[in-house]
Symmetry: C2
Subunit: 192 residues, 2 copies
């Protein structure tokens, strides 16, 4: 047993994972700031479902092509960054978002219409970390079982977020509880 | 100024509102257990958006009639109850859920298809509180600006939750991260 523990600790150290503190929802968690491997990969956050929920979409599309199998998208932000945003209307360094994709079902149990959420189909993350990324924000897509991810090239996420994000590379226009906060602090840039 | 403070405290006391602790996301909050007025009305939780998110639906319908203007529904549960559920697969006394309805939009900013969330359209809550409600769970609908709500009659919510909830009057069949926890603890009852 001790050998297993030592191996786990060694593996965690090799991947640059600071020890996760499993102290439940709502408390300070070491995975709510970005952790990286020595290869500059982002370590997948473990407890993002206990972060602050911002909003969901179903089949959102940024091009006119219809989405044949629409997925739900749920957006979460780390609690520390959320608190700072509520207090200032801006995102601090080390802000981390997770976007989760889930299957949409219509029939199941007593439900007969509309759509409800099912199995996980994808996880993406964004971080604001100027000390590591010259373009300030970086974007990552995790495979369903991947524990780490490399930054995406700018054309896959950064360019659009930078051109169209209402607040500092983030789509606050789609987060109904954050939009009035940003407007109050004058940090909301109406963008099309 | 002192007079105003006294009036506010007196008003809060009259409504049976224990002082809300505004200490931000993630910390223990006095509004995450149910608070009641002397008339047995539930006080609307202020910080439910900082609770634990469970899932969203769009236009979910329990009857075959099509929903002409589908709304998003977001479900949150108080952190203390969530922690207990993760550890045991059961809901403790004083568990509180909030179900939020939001408008669904398709066109806006860069979005051209699917649906994203907009303004608040309704708030409902459920509580498990055997000491106050003989049927254990009670259900409440808040008007958009209402600070308190009376329990709904059983036929509006309780009957269906009791007949079809997979875990103790709750629709865990629609909460994809909780379903495997309940199955692990043997508290999941497959229901149609």
């Amino acid at each position: 047993m001790r050998t297993v523990m030592v191996l786990i600790v060694a593996a965690a150290a090799a991947f640059g994972i600071a020890g996760f503190v499993a102290n439940g929802a709502g408390s300070q968690r070491s995975d709510s700031v970005p952790q990286y491997t020595v290869q500059n990969q982002l370590v997948r956050p473990q407890n993002y479902r206990e972060w602050i929920y911002l909003s969901s979409g179903l089949g959102m599309a940024y091009s006119p092509n219809p989405n044949s199998a629409p997925l739900f998208t749920n957006v979460f932000v780390a609690p520390e960054a959320y608190r700072k945003f509520v207090a200032t209307g801006t995102w601090p360094e080390k802000t981390m978002f997770v976007l989760e994709e889930r299957a949409a079902s219509s029939k199941g149990s007593i439900n007969q219409g509309g759509h409800f959420q099912g199995e996980l189909r994808g996880i993406a993350a964004s971080v604001k970390d100027s000390s590591r990324f010259p373009s300030k924000w970086a974007y990552f897509n995790f495979g369903l079982d991947a524990k780490t991810a490399s930054p995406n090239p700018p054309e896959s996420c950064w360019n659009c977020h930078n051109a169209h994000g209402a607040v500092d590379n983030t789509f606050v226009q789609f987060y109904p509880t954050l939009k009035p906060i940003a407007m109050k602090f004058g940090t909301y840039k109406p963008k099309e």
